[in-house]
């Protein structure tokens, strides 16, 4: 029972208690949906509780003990989310893993987290775990959701989730009181979940977050945007990512809104359209991909449609953002915007699955201002937030009406921020993590005695708006030989804002100017090639086509003009660049699983190319090893052209 000085809301300080509350308060409201066999199946909060409890009893019967850790591996499925809460009901902590990690990466995390039980989605994941089982003496039992293909496996250490639930229900009379006792004794200060950071450098670290971290942050952020149990969300981002844990678990359980799981990764767009969520998060990459596909389809549309689209999108660009922000706009423009809404914006938002979005967020990388404003001008309330795993996501976020493409917002409720002398951003909040698991040294490096955490990002507060602006990773910010500041990610983002450029990696620390590698976007450039009769057989060939290099060179020049306009960073203009002969790939270790470039590894792998960029060469022979999806190795080689980019002259004087 709640103590008198606590509100009943605060008494629910764990997921198990929140589940009980939701089942009692809104038992017949939908808790989860999943598209299976072409139909959306849903579970109410009461049904979800029954499933979770049955699984919790089953896990306990199988021997899961308080203090254990349970790995959860798979795509977003309601049963996998429930298995996390079921583990917590047994006093254990879930450790969700990236489902696309290769077996070796998984082995490290499973071993480091001393995982005893693993709940996995299907045969693919079972195979991976069995392949590394020899190295994991702690791993006792693997539970699987989808039995397909597993019939003939040795079931010595394998159990179907449904079988575990059946076992739990069978012995409910004995197990239920035991689970109830564990749940009642849990407090908010206990560890809730362990999330491994993808690690742009070194081995991944296990971030331990408490119930208080997750739930206090969830409550504050849900209140910030006025989320209620009438909202809905599509859970499609990796379960191992802290954002998904906050959105699909924390905020969902705190407010009681419904979490829908897509049918498969490929059907995400269709499912998004069918569900029409009111609350949506996507990394910039997704918004870019969507906009690219819209642009490509409009290029192929008939002339009337195309003109209609161009006209009203132009109108939206002029007044759409102002209308969304509630700034003054003339009545004529407002009326015309209404017409546009009926003819273009409404149908377009419907096709994108964004008709009902009330609050949308993007974070993780900088988003192109063009892209950001495109969505906002259509009336989609897209905002930015800044966060990290160690903060239980929220550090800063943008309030409605004060949204900008180049800032990340004001401190979230309950978060204190300060900028260190080196320009590094520090924060302190109720969401600050407990520790890095079995790594006291790293914990001490990141979090000081007063609870201030170093973000590792360099940034500053904009004087007039009070919003935070992030420049780059603090350790990545370097200096050119001239002494001018070099912010690689800033440069890369300027380049990546062009739809034709998918990835960019820039170099310049300790050099006298900046050079860059570029990956073209095959969808965008491919569509252009088709329209312009440019024949190509492969990515490699298209990337080196003279007309493509010319097109990219023009875009680099354009980016340079934009970089030159910022006096602090104008020396960062790209002098020479090349288009890589292969796409950067996490399987080759060139990117993290969350698709961030690993600059150091790339620099090592492509050393000869960097040398050539800083020489007078006009082309270079490139040859690298690549890993295929099945684990085999091969080599890709090609002659790559080096292109001199146009720079803006006065920039150098300002920099000097």
């Amino acid at each position: 029972m709640a103590l008198s000085h606590q509100t009943p809301e605060d008494a629910c300080d764990t997921f198990a208690k929140l589940l009980d509350r939701n089942a009692a308060v809104r038992g017949d409201r939908p808790a989860a949906r999943e598209k299976a066999l072409g139909v959306w199946a849903s579970w109410t909060w009461a049904e979800a509780r029954e499933e979770v409890r049955a699984l919790a009893m089953g896990l306990r019967e199988l021997g899961l003990a308080p203090g254990d850790r349970v790995a959860v591996v798979g795509t977003n499925r309601p049963q996998l989310y429930w298995s996390m809460i079921a583990s917590q009901c047994c006093g254990a902590q879930p450790v969700p893993l990236y489902q696309d990690s290769v077996a070796d990466e998984m082995a490290y995390v499973l071993d480091h987290a001393e995982v005893r039980f693993a709940v996995v989605e299907d045969q693919e994941q079972v195979d991976k775990l069995l392949a590394i089982a020899d190295r994991l003496p702690m791993l006792e039992r693997i539970l699987y959701l989808d039995p397909r293909g597993l019939r003939r496996y040795d079931h010595g250490r394998l159990t179907a989730l449904s079988e575990a639930q059946a076992k739990g229900r069978e012995h409910a009379a004995r197990l239920e009181p035991e689970i109830n006792a564990v749940v009642a004794a849990q407090t908010g200060a206990e560890p809730c979940v362990m999330l491994y950071t993808s690690g742009t450098t070194g081995k991944p670290k296990g971030v331990v977050l408490s119930y208080d971290n997750i739930l206090k942050t969830s409550r504050a952020s849900a209140a910030f945007d006025g989320l209620t149990d009438r909202d809905s969300i599509l859970a499609y981002l990796p379960m191992a990512w802290v954002g998904d844990f906050i959105f699909s678990m924390g905020q969902a359980y705190v407010t009681g809104f419904c979490v829908a799981c897509p049918e498969s990764a490929e059907t995400m767009m269709t499912d998004l359209r069918e569900i029409g969520p009111s609350y949506f998060f996507a990394p910039p990459r997704i918004f870019e991909t969507l906009l690219t596909s819209v642009t490509i389809r409009m290029e192929d549309a008939g002339p009337i449609k195309k003109r209609l689209f161009d006209h009203f999108i132009g109108h939206a660009r002029r007044v759409g953002c102002a209308i969304l922000d509630g700034r003054p706009v003339s009545t004529a423009d407002r009326l015309w915007y209404r017409v546009g809404e009926a003819l273009v914006y409404g149908p377009l938002k419907n096709a994108l699955g964004m008709s009902r979005i009330r609050v949308g967020y993007t974070a993780g990388e900088a988003i192109g201002p063009e892209i950001f404003e495109f969505y906002r001008s259509l009336g989609v309330n897209l905002k930015q937030l800044y966060g990290q795993t160690e903060a239980s996501v929220f550090i800063t976020q943008q309030p409605d009406g004060a949204v900008r493409a180049d800032t990340v917002g004001v401190p979230s409720p309950g978060v204190e921020l300060r900028i260190g002398e080196s320009g590094e951003v520090f924060y302190r909040s109720p969401g600050v993590f407990m520790e890095y698991y079995r790594n006291a040294e790293a914990t001490a490096e990141t979090k000081d005695a007063e609870g201030w955490v170093a973000t590792g990002d360099a940034g500053f507060f904009e004087p007039d708006t009070g919003q935070l602006r992030i420049i780059d990773r603090a350790k990545d910010v370097g200096k050119l030989t001239s002494g001018a500041l070099f912010a690689p990610k800033y440069v890369e983002n300027k380049l990546k804002f062009f739809p034709d450029i998918k990835e960019a990696v820039s170099f310049g620390h300790g050099r006298d100017h900046v050079c860059a590698f570029v990956n073209i976007d095959l969808d965008s450039v491919g569509a252009w090639a088709e329209r312009n009769n440019v024949a190509y057989a492969s990515y490699q060939e298209l990337a080196q086509h003279p007309r493509v290099t010319g097109k990219i060179a023009a875009q680099v020049a354009e980016a340079n003009r934009s970089i030159a306009s910022d006096p602090l960073l104008s020396a960062c203009q790209v002098r020479r660049f090349l288009i890589l002969h292969k796409e950067l790939d996490p399987d080759d270790g060139e990117m993290t699983r969350t698709m961030k470039v690993r600059r150091r590894i790339i620099a090592e792998r492509y050393q000869p190319l960097i040398d050539a960029l800083y020489s007078d060469a006009t082309e270079v022979f490139a040859d690298v090893e690549v890993s295929y999806e099945d684990g085999r190795k091969g080599r890709i080689s090609a002659t790559v052209r080096i292109i001199d980019a146009e720079t803006v002259e006065p920039a150098r004087e300002i920099a000097a």
Binding site: L37, G38, V39, A41, P147, G149, R151, S264, E266, D630
Partner: protein, 273 residues
């Protein structure tokens, strides 16, 4: 959805080794003066994956067409499920529990994946055209049941994302998968696959191999397949028949067949003295 239901589905069906499902005895097939098949005999056991291999023009597809009832051999008998087969039209044979895919994809290009697979259920639809035209009532209930069966296949083959796309616009590997789906929709006892991996890249071949093994494993469907890729055949099949110029030159486990000198000659084209 209940997790128990999934478990129940998982425990029913499944692969069992069994008796003879189909037997061909002394088949000879002639087109005018050309003898496409000469006195061929072999059997297919329940639950196995049986491969028919051979160089170009060996008579593999002819053999499959005899089994599927498309060709009527001049001599010999086909025994299916313990009964000698009398001459029948292909759709009658389909009703007996036999389904196939084609070497050159034979789908309805303008129709969606869903509709194409639905056509595979045609032999199982009981309501006549009048009922279907009325739509409400029994025909509707029947269609819902069939749709669910089709959705299970779509889920099984992992083609949810192309459910509503016209198949003509799909890449080749996916079209092959849709064709497999249509054959599966007929819930066959014996599934005939005519070069399921022809023209596929390595990744598509791996996917298709996985699906063939899973069909065999999950539904207990007996499979007879024609294939060129020896690696695939050796990995997938339980037993292999080798044809060359319309004659049977080998029959047995993959390892046995591979060691057979006559088979090696036929494949590598060694000169005979």
């Amino acid at each position: 959805m209940n997790m128990d239901a999934q478990l129940a589905a998982h425990l029913s069906g499944g692969r069992q080794a069994g008796g003879t499902l189909l037997e061909v005895k002394n088949i000879t097939l002639r087109f005018g003066g050309v003898e496409a098949l000469k006195n061929i005999s072999f059997d297919i056991r329940e639950g196995e994956i049986r491969a028919i291999i051979g160089p170009n023009g060996a008579g593999k597809s002819s053999m499959l067409n005899v089994i599927s009832g498309f060709y009527h051999p001049q001599e010999g008998e086909v025994w299916f499920r313990g009964e000698k087969r009398r001459p029948m039209r292909p759709h009658q044979i389909a009703r007996q529990g036999l389904a196939r895919t084609f070497q050159n994809i034979a789908l309805f290009k303008g129709m969606s994946t869903l509709d194409n697979i639905m056509t595979g259920r045609l032999t199982m639809m009981r309501r006549n055209m009048l009922w279907q035209a009325l739509w409400k009532g029994p025909a509707e209930a029947e269609e819902i049941a069939h749709r669910e069966a089709v959705e299970r296949i779509i889920d099984f083959l992992e083609i949810q994302h192309i459910r509503k796309k016209p198949v003509g616009a799909l890449p080749y590997g996916l079209q092959k998968r849709v064709e497999l789906g249509r054959a599966l929709a007929a819930e066959p006892k014996l599934l005939l696959l005519d070069e399921p991996m022809a023209g596929m890249n390595v990744e598509e071949k791996e996917d298709m191999s996985r699906f063939i093994l899973d069909v065999n494993d999950e539904f207990g469907t007996t499979i007879a397949l024609i294939e060129h890729d020896m690696g695939v055949v050796m990995d997938l099949s339980d037993r292999v028949v080798v044809l060359d110029y319309g004659r049977k030159i080998g029959d047995g486990a993959p390892a046995e067949v591979r060691a057979n000198p006559e088979v090696i000659d036929a494949y590598l084209g060694v000169a005979h003295e």
